[in-house]
């Protein structure tokens, strides 16, 4: 096994949720039929409880465009999308 590129790109939590959903993951009990394995389901369950569950691609694109004015680093924008801070404390960390 050869590791060609250890970091081929960072993913927001939303992108992981979207990818798992496109494979057939869902919250209800149709789990047996989809081709998603149980360990992937655990990740999906965890991510659904975070801010990523009700974002859409348009929201994220719009957010990134609006953030260009402030000149934030890409990592910071990604982290804001993932954590969705609602108070100053969240942003501080």
């Amino acid at each position: 096994m050869k590791i060609l590129e250890a970091n081929a790109g960072a993913l927001t939590n939303y992108e992981v949720v979207d990818f798992l959903r496109s494979k057939g993951a869902a919250i209800d009990s149709t789990r047996v039929l989809a081709q998603v394995s149980p360990s992937e389901y655990k990740v999906y369950d965890y991510l659904v409880q975070t801010a990523a569950c009700n974002q859409t691609r348009e929201h994220i694109n719009e957010f990134v465009d609006k953030c260009k004015i402030y000149g934030l680093a890409k990592a910071e924008v990604l982290n804001i999308i993932n954590i969705r801070p609602t108070s100053i404390i969240d942003i501080y960390t």
């Binding site: 096994m1 050869k2 590791i3 060609l4 590129e5 250890a6 970091n7 081929a8 790109g9 960072a10 993913l11 927001t12 939590n13 992108e15 992981v16 990818f19 798992l20 494979k23 394995s37 360990s39 992937e40 655990k42 990740v43 369950d45 965890y46 975070t50 890409k74 990592a75 990604l78 982290n79 993932n82 954590i83 108070s87 404390i89 969240d90 501080y92 960390t93």
Partner: protein
């Protein structure tokens, strides 16, 4: 670029069993990749969550005295690899005198050692069970008990990948290839009784080792 989930590009050569010959090639290869990599830890890359896509498939040669074809595949995996300083929300899984253990559903080896708790806090041993107990955090003269309901935010401190041990004593807990050590320092706390947020950087020691695939 720092994130929780990364894409990693890997190249691997492996054989596809002849029982899968009736499937289209991408499906057979994807199934084999999932069996090989899913839910496994790769050293310095993290925990493999999912196969993202397949970039290229080459080969398909059949070696002598073998019934299966061997392929060289380049593919991308979604890896879970928290960075030092990241904030993760996790549930308390167990607590004993050495510290706290947390879980995020798909990953359970997250530890807070006793010295990385917010000061002051103390450990109250449970009279019923010897090893278990509860941790309390004293702030403004009020003790806040960390119990099973709370979901706590932690900061990753260190990630370490311990090497696979050759032998283990019988009572040792199952080997943890990836260990995340986190710290909780109360820089923000929510004074609503049920939920306490400790934002702290805990060293995340991710000890990852993928023994069978170390080639």
């Amino acid at each position: 670029m720092v994130q929780m989930f990364y894409l990693s590009r890997i190249e691997h050569t492996f054989r596809v069993p002849p029982s899968l010959l009736n499937l289209p090639i991408e499906e057979a290869i994807k199934g084999e990749l999932e069996k090989l990599f899913l839910d496994k830890v790769i050293a310095d890359l993290g925990l493999c969550v999912s196969v993202y896509d397949i970039k290229s498939i080459e080969g398909g040669f059949i070696f002598p005295s073998d019934g299966a074809a061997t392929y060289t595949v380049v593919f991308r995996l979604i890896m879970f690899r928290p960075f030092v300083g990241e904030i993760i929300a996790a549930k308390v899984k167990e607590s004993n005198a050495t510290g706290l253990r947390l879980s995020i559903g798909f990953f359970d080896d997250i530890y807070i050692p006793a010295h990385l708790f917010p000061k002051p806090s103390s450990f109250k041993p449970d009279p019923n069970k010897k090893d278990k107990g509860t941790w309390e955090w004293e702030y403004d003269e009020e003790p806040y008990i960390i119990d099973g309901i709370d979901e706590i935010k932690f900061r990753v401190h260190n990630v370490s990948y311990p090497p696979i041990p050759i032998e283990q004593p019988k009572e040792a807990k199952p080997f943890a290839p990836m260990v995340i050590t986190v710290s909780s320092s109360p820089e923000s706390h929510n004074l609503i009784g049920i939920c306490c947020n400790f934002l702290d950087l805990i060293p995340v020691s991710l000890k990852a080792y993928l023994g069978t695939l170390k080639a």
